[in-house]
């Protein structure tokens, strides 16, 4: 409206000043990124930001949530009745299963007591609602409405009614970020339920697809096999369903199989997830005693741990198959894993993921995270 600008500041921007500011700010941003990515020093700050952002994120999705709620409340009677009948039927089936389950659980615990191994079953769970905000269309992450206040911690496993959903990567005071098993940065140690073969299922970035790239050619795996969590690493409780094998490609030219699986959890449709607590005292993988006891699939089982430890290398340096028949490389494999860690290549992030499946971006799970700062301080 006014042609005369009353602002007393100089009309032209100082050239060098702007460039200087760019450099200073760019250095600050770069410093933040390095601190965040390499040292994971910013855990507390990130949690704080997450807490501060949550009310706003909640407000953004509130209209959508309100609309959904309104539509629900106007659901027709017939639909609710039909749903009720279905739920009653489901309930009956589940009760029948439960009757058997209880006796089986007793028996299982008794047997475990005999073997003096701890039963790592889920002890406590908490229902968390998914807050409907789109964090990033290319990464599979969701925000849930439970946080530190409810005892949620980083590295906590999240399940839904059908299987494993993901794990908590960041816990704010009243909200937490959960990385889905289908996120490209996520890897979960799994076991083929039929044979006991262990491997790692990597996320692909698509919610309906996991990939198992580290299985040797002669592995016994077929389409339809159920994958359950193996519990190695201690992040996920063992024995919970993860996915179903949907494709197995045996290309003789390749050292490893290309196996694809479909997650069982409804990753893109769940309105809520279960955050679980279980006794994760046993963190060390103990693959040795098992092959002796389960005699039948021993031939298949033996090479499995090797495949796991060597796999990151196989991918990186395109070395040939990790010699499934030869039992000797086992100790060797263990020495190569730390090597990968020190080189700090992206693959290095896969190596520790054997022991603890992994969130390379925002830090290792809690026990590690606490151990790291003193080391780096020295």
């Amino acid at each position: 409206m006014t042609t005369h600008d009353p602002d007393p500041r100089p009309l032209l921007l100082g050239g060098p000043a702007l460039g200087l500011r760019l450099i200073v700010l760019a250095l600050m941003a770069a410093g933040l990124m390095v601190a965040d990515h390499r040292q994971h020093h910013l855990g507390a700050i990130r949690d704080w930001i997450a807490t501060a952002a949550y009310p706003f994120q909640w407000a953004v999705q509130a209209p959508v949530a309100a609309w959904t709620a309104a539509r629900e409340s106007f659901a027709t009677r017939t639909r609710v009745e039909a749903q009720n009948v279905k739920l009653a039927a489901d309930n009956l089936v589940l009760r029948l299963k439960l009757m058997r389950f209880e006796s089986l659980e007793q028996e299982n615990q008794r047997l475990r007591a005999v073997r003096a191994s701890s039963a790592r079953v889920v002890q406590r769970s908490l229902v968390a609602e998914i807050v409907r905000v789109d964090l990033d269309p290319f990464r599979q992450r969701v925000l849930v409405n439970k946080g530190n206040k409810d005892g949620v911690f980083r590295g906590q496993a999240a399940l839904d009614a059908n299987g494993i959903f993901g794990q908590v990567t960041r816990a704010g005071l009243i909200s937490a970020e959960v990385i889905l098993i289908s996120d490209p940065e996520h890897a979960i140690p799994v076991q083929v339920n039929r044979t006991g073969t262990r491997s790692i299922a990597l996320g692909t970035g698509r919610s309906g697809l996991l990939s198992l790239p580290y299985l040797p050619q002669n592995t016994d795996v077929i389409v339809g096999d159920l994958l359950v969590s193996s519990g190695l690493g201690g992040v996920y409780p063992p024995g919970y369903p993860v996915g179903k094998v949907s494709a197995v490609v045996r290309d003789p030219a390749q050292p490893l199989l290309a196996v694809e699986a479909e997650p069982l959890a409804a990753l893109d449709r769940d309105p809520e997830v279960l955050l679980v607590w279980f006794d994760s005292a046993v963190v060390e993988p103990k693959p040795e005693p098992e092959p002796a006891e389960t005699a039948a699939p021993a031939a298949v089982k033996k090479p499995a741990p090797q495949a796991q430890t060597l796999a990151p290398h196989a991918e990186a340096s395109a070395t040939p198959a990790p010699a499934p028949q030869a039992p000797s490389p086992m100790p060797q494999a263990e020495t190569t894993a730390p090597q990968a860690e020190t080189t700090a290549l992206p693959e290095a992030e896969l190596a520790p993921s054997l022991a603890e499946p992994v969130v390379p971006e925002s830090g290792t799970p809690p026990p590690e995270a606490e151990a790291v700062p003193p080391e780096t301080g020295r």
């Binding site: 941003a29 933040l32 990124m33 501060a52 999705q61 964090l135 990033d136 269309p137 971006e361």
Partner: protein, 161 residues
Amino acid sequence: MMRGSRSNFGWPRIVGLTLAALAATVAPLPEWLELMRPDFVALTVLWFSLLAPRLLGLSYAWCAGLALDGFRGVLLGQHALTLIVIAYVASKLRLQIRAFPPLQQSAVILALLFLNEFLLFWIDGVAGHPITDWRRWLAVPVGAACWPLLTGIYARVAARR
């Protein structure tokens, strides 16, 4: 069409516009639309750098970028870095860009948004988790197409007393 750069553009309005851009960035959308969502925060930063560079300089771009990182839970500082770079280029060239006809302006915005996305892509790669999906580039042309509309809205907000 690019009027509305007034020095009485107070903080409430600046914060309001920034928050609106952030909200538009995380608001739930259907999946097909989500992939095409323009980078509203980058567009807002560009608008401020072109229209009111003396009022809101690089530090504004930096803060907006950091807020965006915090909101989306990505590597802290990556949007801050990319946004100050495009804000710098935009404020350097602002006198020329402001004189351009709308179509040409959109073309410049396209280039700047591409630079922004490219830097993000690069940082993602260096940080060890690249997203190689080609659809990540969809947001760039959509953002440039939204530019005339967005400047219209912002000019109105700015002109209102």
